[in-house]
């Protein structure tokens, strides 16, 4: 019978949640890598049992575990992330120049066609690629060496490359997002990149309409329509219908358009999910009510989804990597909170249930459908 596996990265370890296709009863396995920060875990689309994890902490740096059996056992692969050529500098918080320094891997994006090929988004912002299952990593330095690179400035959480989207119709085309440099697109597999931030407006930077410098929190795409992108920005929910070349705002009737994650329904390319957060200064849901908002029309008109979610005294955050969908019918939607709950809906968001509670703060959630 078809099953679902949900990979949960937390501040203090990784957890693997599994269920059959009904998604009612969940087994919690973990913590794996107890005590370590697990920024992200993700499985290969062509071999779901091949899972990569980003394991790090402030003492011992970056470790890169890989599993070939669906997360039951792990082996350590390569953790050498060397910037290519001249390292150079970027803007620091105080507007001085600061050398590029590798801190950790924020995001792992396995290739759509080869389980040994994975892209890694790292802090300080750069993109790396492995073609040998994680043993060695090479920088795709055209991104970091973009002429705008020296002007990139970290967001509050660091200068992290946190989003990587691969166009399923053309794997040479990829989109990335960096806090707080903005969104970029490559058409040649990562050799060259161009900023795609036209239409973004950020009042908190010197030129609100600058080509780069926008704090993009997350981008989402439906695989059947890779030219349409949805973005949760620091403030504003945005949409592009031309592969990111231009953007327009679709925040519409959201109670606040600040937030971190954004996701698209697995079978309805115009159905989009966000979790509004009160403000950039107060990272919790407005009015203490945890509400996912769903638009069935690609933005602008949003409905609050509350059934099964706490509607009083809730002050958790939902981080950018902590929302995912499965591809079962009905579509499953999952998100994790900084309070340690992972909520799931098996009907596209109409009803929610906590499938695990009291984990460490959740950093990332990835759902996999198993054959």
């Amino acid at each position: 019978m078809t099953g679902v596996r949900v990979l949960v990265g937390t501040r203090k370890g990784g957890f693997v949640l599994t269920s059959d296709g009904k998604r009612k009863n969940w087994k919690v396995d973990g913590p794996h890598f107890g005590g370590w920060e697990i920024y992200h875990m993700k499985g290969s689309p062509v071999d779901p049992n091949r899972i990569y994890a980003s394991q790090s902490n402030s003492w011992f740096g970056q470790i890169m575990p890989r599993s070939d059996d669906g997360g039951k056992t792990w082996e350590t692969v390569g953790n050498e992330f060397a910037y290519e050529g001249s390292v150079g500098t970027h803007l620091w918080y105080d507007d001085t120049q600061h050398p590029w320094e590798f801190a950790r891997v924020w995001h792992l994006e396995p290739s759509l066609s080869d389980p040994d090929t994975v892209y890694a988004g790292v802090e300080d912002a750069a993109m790396f690629k492995t073609t040998d299952g994680g043993k060695t990593w090479q920088e795709l330095s055209g991104l970091r060496l973009h002429p705008s690179g020296p002007t990139w400035q970290p967001g509050a959480g660091g200068l992290g490359l946190h989003t990587i989207l691969i166009d399923p119709t053309n794997e040479q085309r990829m989109y990335v997002a960096i806090s707080a440099a903005g969104a970029f697109r490559t058409e040649d597999g990562g050799t060259t990149w161009q900023p795609i931030n036209q239409g973004l407006h950020s009042d908190f930077i010197p030129d609100p309409n600058a080509e780069t410098g926008h704090c993009v929190h997350r981008i989402a795409m439906h695989p059947s329509r890779p030219n349409v992108l949805f973005m949760q920005k620091h403030w504003d929910v945005m949409r592009s219908d031309d592969s990111g070349t231009s953007w327009h705002e679709v925040s519409g009737n959201l109670p606040t358009d600040f937030g971190f994650p954004i996701a698209v329904h697995a079978h309805e390319p115009e159905t989009v999910y966000v979790v509004p957060i009160k403000s950039d200064s107060e990272h919790y849901p407005p009015e203490g009510k945890l509400r996912v908002y769903r638009s069935r029309g690609g933005g602008n008109e949003w409905e609050a989804l509350t059934n099964g979610l706490p509607q009083s005294d809730c002050y958790v955050n939902i981080l950018r990597e902590a929302m995912s969908v499965d591809t079962l019918d009905d579509c499953g939607v999952y998100f994790g909170t900084t309070g340690g709950q992972v909520y799931a809906s098996t009907d596209g968001g109409d009803h929610w249930e906590a499938i695990v509670r009291d984990l460490p703060a959740v950093l990332s959630v990835e759902a996999q459908v198993l054959p």
């Binding site: 107890g34 402030s58 003492w59 740096g61 470790i63 050498e80 060397a82």
Partner: protein, 98 residues
């Protein structure tokens, strides 16, 4: 034979106990001991010092016989007691964080 005491996370990473014993080529220095440690336990590569630059991680300290040898140069000799195996070199993760 040189003895090294590992902090908890490095023990679990290496799949070993509190103390490991290493054959170290040449004089006992931070560099030679870490080279031997990483060779014997490849998952530890990069955990005590940056795998690219070789620089000691900021929160890693080295103690022996109750003294802090962290700020010795990487090629400076460690005490004879460490070189002979009479006393262990202790790798300590600084107390920090939450």
């Amino acid at each position: 034979m040189i003895r090294v005491i590992l902090p908890y996370h490095l023990r679990t990473l290496a799949g070993t106990g509190r103390e490991v014993q290493l054959d170290v080529a040449g004089p006992a220095t931070q560099r030679s001991i870490l080279d031997a440690l990483e060779a014997a336990y490849p998952p530890l590569r990069g955990a005590v010092r940056d795998p690219v630059t070789g620089k000691r991680r900021d929160l890693m300290r080295f103690f022996a016989q109750g003294k802090d040898y962290t700020l010795l140069g990487p090629d400076d000799p460690l005490p004879d007691a460490v070189a002979s195996g009479a006393e262990p070199l202790q790798i300590v993760g600084a107390i920090a964080g939450g």
